[in-house]
Symmetry: C2
Subunit: 147 residues, 2 copies
Amino acid sequence: MNLHIRVFTIGTLAKAAGVSTPTIRYYEEIGLLPPAHRTAGGQRSYDDDDLGRLTFIKQCRDFGFGIDQVRVLLDLSVSSSRDCTETRDIAQRHLDEVREKLAELRLLERRLEGFVTRCNVACAGGPGQDCVIFKDMVAPAKGGCCG
Amino acid sequence: MNLHIRVFTIGTLAKAAGVSTPTIRYYEEIGLLPPAHRTAGGQRSYDDDDLGRLTFIKQCRDFGFGIDQVRVLLDLSVSSSRDCTETRDIAQRHLDEVREKLAELRLLERRLEGFVTRCNVACAGGPGQDCVIFKDMVAPAKGGCCG
DNA sequence: CCTTGAACCTCAAGTTACTTGAAGGAGTAC
DNA sequence: GTACTCCTTCAAGTAACTTGAGGTTCAAGG
């Protein structure tokens, strides 16, 4: 209970929030963070409120929200109505996107697995084989490598 | 058997390979495609070899390979040794990356699910609740929204 | 032959979310 | 005072294209 007012340099704030110092300057530049207070020498100076805001941003980014979505979430976070349903809708849409991406990646994983497997089967003897991967690759959607 | 020599404009080539025309110009600019032949009027002109090369590139990109990896694969595709093991190793490394990304996304999916669920539980009554998502978000790694 | 409209040309800048680098000033410890 | 780290701004780089401005070529129709 002895640190009633904590003051951060940009570097200590960065460590506390888990981001880089250029990122903090960048967030200020694009308006995610307000212009920082400055010391007499012109260096940026932060307090716990700033840490809170930055940590919030960091959490949102870790959730995969884009900068523009973070902007909306920040606005919601200070709006008087505290409209949680809007927040949930943003998160739900984002979740849908994540699931789409997951489906794509799962498909890609299977295709790559097949590719590597065919390589291993056909090229077990090492290099010098008459690998036909590249002919296969030119014919779309058939999978390739040493087929 | 009547189309022994097919000639493509950049637009028809783009459709045939499933990419955009600016993308073709971009690939030429960065050296993935050789400088195109030109008509008397200065417009680009392509043949089936170009279609083959571009289709190969497209397939690699669909596989998620980066441009630099595509460059290597293109080199391998014309190398005399046809070293399939090298090709397989590139694909294997890429597969590993895809699997890492999948793991990340699965985790993210679960976190977002929890987030949305908590929103629904706490905010079923609609807006105006005292949503505490934003306080939660400031405390890292706890999940948020209306906790 | 001439005009119209689509498709083409080049060059520059925008996109996302930062990172990296250069050149120099501020703050702190000895 | 000097050594060292951290800070400052500004510019450019990253990946892989996309978009836009302003102008040219081509094929078809009248």
